[in-house]
């Protein structure tokens, strides 16, 4: 199913707003973010292509099934336990970040723990579903939300107060030396493909070339929207004043004839579900990787232990990480993630070539 691949990529493109990508890009807008974005696009598409075509050689198999009968069991365990952290932390940062947003914009009087409880309840319900059901759920969520996001983007682009001059001003800084941080942040938009290492279980047949073309176009459009629309609304200097540029941008929009006048509520309600499914997809991958380290079927007790561990980490995250700290950590996490991602793709690529040769 080719469209499943696109869903995964699209999901990451949508959720980058929560995980500080626009924030990081805008912070470096005069110091190489534009060039960084331009460099990120080929890197992202290339990684997409490399991993997808490699894993395509194992139709309907996830990473655990592919390496299931490997002789080096300890190597496998170390490998899985190592790489599952990327997905787990991706979900964790999204979760903690979004709880912070909800606390700030929707329910300022409610303890963060209460918000966390309901989120964890929903996430744990979803991540324990079989992989195909998680994908169906993702499809339904995107199906329900796509009209809404298309509408918001349409409203943003046609708004009278969108200043194209500010965007052009930032655009003139294209030849600055690109910063690693902005490249790392921009590649996050493309990294939905990494979920394939579990979700490849559902992909039958070869991925057609137009998929990567679609990823390329979507990526350009997405990065442009993510990066430039807040600048267009708040000015090239004003944009960096906001911790969450896109949410403030949504708050600048107004629907004159709708019962819900402020777009920020539409936007946040839309992101409640997108964030939910994004965390669920990431943690589902992480969960399945941990399951893959065990030889036999996982027992209820172990299952519960993993979930308790997840819950414990998120509680600690919500307690100890405030917005600024989380933002700083995310910047470095992005770089580490990019490194790991390249490493994962390259090692897998070489391993497959030797294995099939």
């Amino acid at each position: 199913m080719n469209r499943y691949f696109l869903y995964l990529v699209l999901l990451n493109m949508l959720v980058n707003v929560i995980i500080f990508v626009p924030n990081i890009l805008i912070q470096y807008r005069f110091e190489g973010a534009v060039m960084g974005v331009l460099i990120a696009i080929p890197i992202g598409v290339a990684l997409n292509y490399l991993l997808s075509t490699t894993i395509n050689k194992f139709p309907e198999q996830g990473m655990p099934e592919i390496i299931a009968n490997s002789k080096h069991r300890w190597l496998k365990i170390i490998h899985f336990c190592g790489i599952q952290w990327i997905w787990f932390t991706a979900g964790l940062i999204t979760l903690v970040g979004f709880i912070d947003i909800l606390d700030r914009f929707i329910n300022p009087e409610m303890p963060k723990m209460a918000l966390l409880v309901i989120y964890l309840a929903a996430i744990f319900l979803i991540i324990q579903l079989p992989t195909d059901r998680v994908m169906y759920f993702l499809e339904i969520v995107l199906f329900l939300n796509t009209p809404l996001i298309a509408f918001i983007i349409f409203k943003a682009f046609t708004n009278d107060y969108l200043s194209w001059d500010s965007m052009l001003e930032v655009g003139t800084h294209i030849f600055e030396r690109p910063s690693l941080k902005s490249i790392a942040a921009a590649t996050y938009c493309f990294s939905g493909y990494t979920n394939l290492i579990i979700f490849n279980r559902l992909i039958k047949g070869r991925l057609k070339i137009w998929n990567f073309f679609a990823v390329f176009l979507l990526g350009i459009f997405n990065l442009f929207t993510t990066f430039f629309i807040p600048i267009g609304f708040h000015g090239s200097d004003g944009a960096q004043e906001f911790q969450y540029p896109w949410i403030s941008t949504a708050d600048s929009l107004r629907l004159a004839y709708s019962p819900i006048e402020r777009v920020i509520f539409l936007f946040l309600m839309f992101y409640m579900s997108i964030t939910l499914i994004s965390i669920s997809v990431h943690w589902h991958v992480s969960f399945e990787l941990i399951k893959g380290t065990f030889k036999e079927k996982i027992s209820k007790k172990k299952n519960l232990l993993i979930l308790i561990f997840y819950a414990g980490c998120s509680v600690a995250g919500v307690i100890f990480l405030n917005t600024i700290l989380l933002n700083k950590i995310t910047v470095y996490w992005m770089i580490v993630r990019l490194g790991f991602e390249i490493l994962l793709v390259v090692i897998f690529f070489i391993w497959t070539r030797r294995w099939t040769a």
Binding site: A122, F137, I140, K204, R262, L276
Partner: protein
Amino acid sequence: MPTNNVQSIKESLIHKLQQPEDLVFKENHTKEKYMEVLYIKSISDEDVLLENVLKPFFEITSSKEFLDFLQSHPKASEYECEQKTIDMVMRGVAILFYQDFVFLFDCKMDRNNAVMDTTVETTIQGPQAGFSESLPVNLGLIRQRYPNVSLKVESTTVGNLSKTKVMILHDTKFVDPDTLKRVKKFLDAIDIDMFQTGEQLFDIIKKSNRALFPLMLVTERPDRVAINLASGKVILLVHGSSYAVILPTVMKDLMSSMEDIYQTYWIAKFLQILRYTAFNISIILPGLYVAVSSYNPELFRVHLAMSIAGSRTGIPYPSFVEVLLMLFMMELLTEASIRLPKAIGPTATTVGGLILGQSAAEAGLVSNIMIVIVSFVAISNFVVPINAFSFTIRVLKYFILLLATIFGLVGVVIGFFMLLAYMVKLDSFGEPFLTIIQSKPSKE
């Protein structure tokens, strides 16, 4: 197959049947021959017996010819074993003892074979007749609508005491063999004493016996059965019930009315969108009211927020109490109007709907907007065409309401998606419940 021990069989049968009041054991003589008849008169059709056995008995003089007549009669079958014979007698079969032979003569009385009008799944146009309560008549109704050799009919019995006859119908050309296997396995595994109608399966289908969603469709319309046969579903007909069970059932089936195919394309699409909207409104609206009025009044534009708040100024308690009170009243009203005799029914609706609603608002117990919302929810609920599913929705809204009361707007959205995730998790005999938007796993 002549049996020598006719006498012992006869005695044993009469002994085992324990001589009930309505047991008839009659001897018939003519000059040449002698026959004994045994049946239970309250469940056997004596006219059939008279017409097909007794009249010929006196008309045919030769004893050999009468034996030939009995052996070739389509309703007569020969004795096999005692237990089966007793079962058959209890279902209205007459036993004939003639010479060295024992015959089972089918003269079951078929009561309740009148075809009834549809009362639950009504349509404006299209066929109006439903099923009867007789199994052979129902099978006949389906065969009339579905005259194909590929229609396969099998039968089994369900129920330890009731031993109800259940027929499994499917079209061998379209049915998915895996589904059929699952259905048969499910029917074999049922452990229940009294099985009287297909609706009882609703709860049995879940291993834990705690089902919230109906995973099968119970219908009273032969045309719906015929159309589902053609789309590869399995049909169960239960003896004594005027409803057929359709398996597997997904949400798409629960949201469809037969009228959809009796309308033009766009009208049918419009009606379907209407139903799905009503489904969502009915689930979300009470929770959303609590979330908006108590947590995030700034969600709506100022005028609307003001009018909601203004309508609530006199109300002495928080919004969730108000919603619960009003919903509770509505549930009582719905329940009462089902139970009441038809003659008093309209009175209950008038008293409940008009007087109580009006005065509750005037007394300052609930706000006017609340009454609008509750009626909205109730009406939306009744738009859902399949009754069993509309009962499910009645319960679902309390889940969202609870989450909205505790978590506000976040609770509404996440609660809705938790319900979605639960529905994604469900499947009916291997078919995902939400097949309308998600693809079938095996067929692509």
